[in-house]
């Protein structure tokens, strides 16, 4: 059973996702894993559910439910459109 304590993470968002969140960065609390962080975010910002999002943890793309620690930086990245 998961009895882990919530942690504080820094969330940074870019492009259209920054417009949905309403700020370049916010602090949120969640259980220490990415899935919990995603669930909390979508509860708080339902418009995110319709968006294509890649997540990065401490500047590395995260494709699975990896563990988070206090102070982790989670980035919400919409599809890239450089060039």
């Amino acid at each position: 059973m998961n009895v882990s304590n919530p942690i504080q993470i820094k969330l940074v968002a870019f492009g259209v996702l920054q417009e949905i969140i309403g700020a370049p960065s916010i602090f949120i609390s969640c259980d220490p894993n990415l899935e919990s962080c995603k669930e909390n975010l979508i509860k708080q910002y339902p418009a995110l559910a319709k968006q294509a999002i890649q997540y990065a943890i401490n500047h590395q793309l995260a494709s699975e439910n990896i563990a988070l620690t206090n102070g982790s930086e989670i980035a919400l990245l919409p599809p890239f459109s450089g060039g």
Partner: protein, 147 residues
């Protein structure tokens, strides 16, 4: 000898023709180069919902973009026999008709420079966390989608 120094990529605003010309002329002292290839990305005046794109405003996640650009650069040097390579990308506002991306590869013979340049452009567009917001003539905006 290959040149693999870390270089500044991001430029505030458009990349000027003078900057590109200066960059070319700096290579005249490297006499082992026999071929350069250059890609220039220019802001296209697309039409979206009957409005013209007048500019693109670029933002990026620098802390993530810089190590990715370093890795792309390293991979390119492993894959192709290059003398040097340079990547410049605009941030902030770039008007239609202005240059926003400048990729410059040099090698002893043309094939490596040409193929490496194309390889870099594709990887930059696909892997680097940069976003373009298209500013339309009625002052509304649309987030750009790469083709």
């Amino acid at each position: 000898m290959e040149e693999k120094k870390k270089k500044k990529v991001f430029i505030d605003g458009p990349i000027s023709a003078q900057f590109i010309a200066d960059s070319i002329s700096k290579h005249s002292s490297k006499k082992n180069i026999g071929a350069h290839n250059i890609f220039l990305g220019q802001i296209r005046q697309d039409k979206i919902n009957d409005e013209q794109v007048i500019a693109i405003e670029y933002t990026c996640y620098k802390e993530m973009a810089e190590p990715i650009l370093d890795a792309i650069r390293e991979d390119c040097f492993v894959k192709y026999p290059l003398t040097c390579l340079h990547i410049y990308h605009s941030l902030g506002l770039v008007n239609a008709g202005e240059i926003c991306l400048f990729v410059f590869t040099s090698s002893a013979h043309r094939q490596a420079a040409i193929e490496a340049c194309s390889y870099l452009v594709e990887r930059i567009k696909k892997e680097v966390p940069i976003w373009g917001k298209e500013i339309l003539s009625d002052t509304s905006s649309v987030w750009k989608n790469n083709q």
